[in-house]
């Protein structure tokens, strides 16, 4: 059995004492793209926040290992250092803090070279059509929705994660931005063997990203798993019919 994978076993998560995830199981291998879809309130965002260790999301049961390492015991920053990246649905604005300072401190904590960060940022920005002038701004401040998602993708590129959780990276993106972002992520899966857990409501993200598996999350559990064909079936039938309710 390979040690290289992101394994989520029987994950239970509560928010303010209320159970949201009730036993999620997933295994994502390097280079694989897994898509989690589900109705509003099914627990999709909870899954992403819990994986990254947001303090409001309490794991009450289960385990998560990244390449064999138990990450639930780690603070968020060490999960990131272990190779996990979370692309937020609504990236947070942090006034006064530049992207370069954050990426530099992350590289420093990892013992990586910090002098090349700016160059990497510029290269990544170019590859996804993120305007250079935005790099000077405080984190996400005054960026449009599309620019914020490009910014997240840029960070994924510079940090070089092993597994990325993309929480509705496609929501609110215009066609050009969606193409730029999804092509870049597809490139990471091919060239760097990035494992992806993409949470989405829509199939259009999957026109570029080639999913290996589609999971339907409902009421805190994965209720159905299938191949890419599940997306079409879902679009035709809707969640209720598909899940046999």
């Amino acid at each position: 059995m390979t040690n290289s994978s992101l394994v989520i076993k029987n994950l239970h998560v509560s928010v303010s004492g209320k159970p949201i995830l009730k036993g999620v199981n997933l295994e994502i291998l390097p280079g694989e793209v897994h898509v989690v879809m589900g109705p509003n309130g099914s627990g999709k965002s909870t899954l992403s926040y819990a994986l990254m260790g947001h303090p409001e999301y309490e794991v009450t049961e289960g385990e998560v290992t990244l390449d064999g390492k138990d990450i639930l015991a780690l603070p968020s920053w060490q999960r990131a250092q272990a190779g996990l990246f979370l692309c937020l649905q609504h990236p947070i604005e942090v006034p006064g803090v530049t992207l370069e300072s954050v990426l530099t401190e992350s590289a420093r904590a990892a013992g990586r070279e910090t002098s090349t960060i700016k160059k990497q940022m510029l290269e990544e920005a170019e590859s996804i059509g993120f305007e250079e002038k935005f790099l000077e701004r405080p984190m996400n401040v005054d960026l449009s929705g599309g620019e914020k998602k490009r910014n997240e993708t840029l960070q994924l590129g510079v940090l070089g994660a092993r597994y990325a959780v993309l929480d509705e990276i496609d929501s609110g993106l215009d066609v050009d931005a969606l193409a730029a972002v999804s092509q870049r992520i597809q490139g990471f899966t091919h060239d760097q063997n990035l494992g992806v857990l993409a949470i989405t409501h829509f199939s259009r993200l999957l026109e570029v990203l080639e999913p290996d598996k589609i999971h339907i999350l409902n009421d805190g559990c994965i209720q159905l798993t299938g191949g890419p064909e599940l997306v079409n079936q879902l679009e035709e039938e809707g969640y209720q019919v598909l899940l046999g309710n």
Binding site: M52, P95, V97, A109
Partner: protein, 430 residues
């Protein structure tokens, strides 16, 4: 009554101070008024949350002699000042005027050197507002006067260092007048050695028509020093008066700032950054008085409180009936870094005119959990992420300071405090 606590503040000492006759008369009057002045009390709104009740005035005596030995001064970094002034224990001990300012006719001297020096006394502050104001009048050495002539623009800042090196009560007074259409920046560095002094400085600024005045205060007093400062400014027609305050040192430091927008179209700004640590108390009171129409005031105070430090921000923006088309913003944000730290924020508006745009906002909260999570989720260790957020929080104020050297001093002070914090945290983890 206040006087019963003021045994060391004798009429003889007040009378012994040097200066012109008009100043002696002011001192005499103020000293005789002391009998009627109530001691400040935390029951009063303006002294609520302060530590004035802990002050033992009965154990203090006023500084009554010009100090002889000058301590070394932190002015080397101001390579391009237009003039430097040194006040030691409130006494003027050195004035050096550069060529630019001298040729422009800028006056910087003890008030007694001017025939009309008396007219600057009380120009922005007709009468004292509290006991410390009366004591400043009764026991202040000869005040410093700065006059910037009409139409003159002084590019480099005038740097005033007020150094305290005594355990006595100290009463510096600075009176600045910008004549019409002039422009100047003043940097006031308040510093003290490791003394238990109680300093009550008064600053009066009058800004003439269309004149532009900026004042930066670097409050970097020693850890045992107390201060009760009063700054008062009166801005004339279309004048601009800007105050920038860096609250760094001291044990208990109170800064009261009164901005009077007297002339139509006058503008005032007060930006302050403060960072408390250990058991410091940093206490700010502001009064923005919109007297005339088309006046604007902008106020932004940002503070961080670590350990068991405390801060108070209490501000009143008052819009008088005649002050139509006033715009006023008043914002105070505080980050509470530790459970024992404490910040009080009380912004107030008093509006007597309908045609105004006013806002006020205040927050006291820990470092934003979501901001912290976001930065940590990029692989940045928690303590480093907190530092980045705090540096970013203060950056808005630091970058607004009009004198680069002052921005640098504030930046270094904040970094120094954050370094100590990081060090303490790592020691605690061991």
């Amino acid at each position: 009554m206040a006087s019963s606590n003021l045994e060391g503040f004798t009429a003889d000492i007040s009378k012994s101070l040097s200066g012109p006759n008009w100043l002696s008369e002011i001192r005499n009057k103020a000293h005789s008024d002391l009998d009627q002045v109530e001691a400040p009390d935390t029951e009063e709104e303006v002294w609520r949350y302060s530590r004035v009740n802990e002050l033992k005035l009965s154990e203090l005596t006023p500084s009554s002699k010009r100090p002889e030995n000058l301590t070394s001064l932190p002015i080397e970094r101001f390579s391009s000042s237009s003039a430097t002034v040194v006040l030691q224990d409130g006494w003027i001990s050195d004035i050096t005027i550069g060529k630019e300012a001298e040729e422009a006719g800028v006056i910087i001297c003890p008030a007694g050197d001017l025939e009309d020096g008396a007219k600057y006394f009380g120009a922005a502050l007709e009468k004292p507002v509290d006991l410390f104001g009366y004591l400043n009048r009764a026991f202040g050495p000869e005040p410093l006067v700065v006059v910037v002539p009409q139409g003159t623009v002084i590019k480099d800042p005038i740097v005033i260092v007020s150094l305290t090196d005594t355990n006595e009560a100290v009463f510096p007074r600075i009176m600045i007048h910008c004549e019409d259409n002039s422009e100047v920046k003043v940097v006031e560095i308040q510093t003290s050695s490791n003394v238990e002094a109680v300093i009550s400085p008064v600053l009066e600024v009058t800004v003439g028509q269309a004149a532009r005045y900026s004042h930066c205060v670097v409050q970097n007093l020693g850890a045992e020093t107390w201060q009760f400062a009063h700054q008062a400014v009166d801005a004339g027609k279309d004048a601009s008066a800007e105050f920038y305050i860096a609250g760094i040192g001291g044990e208990y430091v109170r800064t009261r700032t009164d901005c009077r927008l007297t002339g139509r179209g006058a503008f005032s700004r007060i930006n302050a950054a403060y960072f408390g640590e250990d058991d410091q108390t940093l206490d700010f009171r502001t009064f923005q008085d919109h007297i005339s129409s088309d006046t604007t005031s902008d106020l932004l105070f940002k503070g961080a409180l670590a350990d068991s430090s405390r801060s108070i921000y209490s501000g009143l923006t008052k819009i008088r009936p005649e002050a139509s088309r006033t715009r006023a913003n008043q914002t105070n944000r505080n980050i509470k870094l530790d459970p024992e730290a404490w910040a009080e924020s009380i912004p107030n508006l008093e509006i007597e005119n309908n045609d105004v745009v006013c806002s006020h906002a205040s927050t006291v909260s820990p470092v934003d959990e979501n901001e912290l999570f976001y930065i940590e989720s990029r692989g940045v260790p928690t303590s480093v992420a907190e530092r980045l957020i705090l540096e970013g929080f203060f950056n808005e104020i630091i970058s607004s300071f009009p004198v680069q050297e002052v921005s640098a001093i504030l930046q270094e002070a904040i970094v120094g405090k954050l370094d100590r914090r990081t060090l303490n945290q790592s020691e605690q983890q061991l």
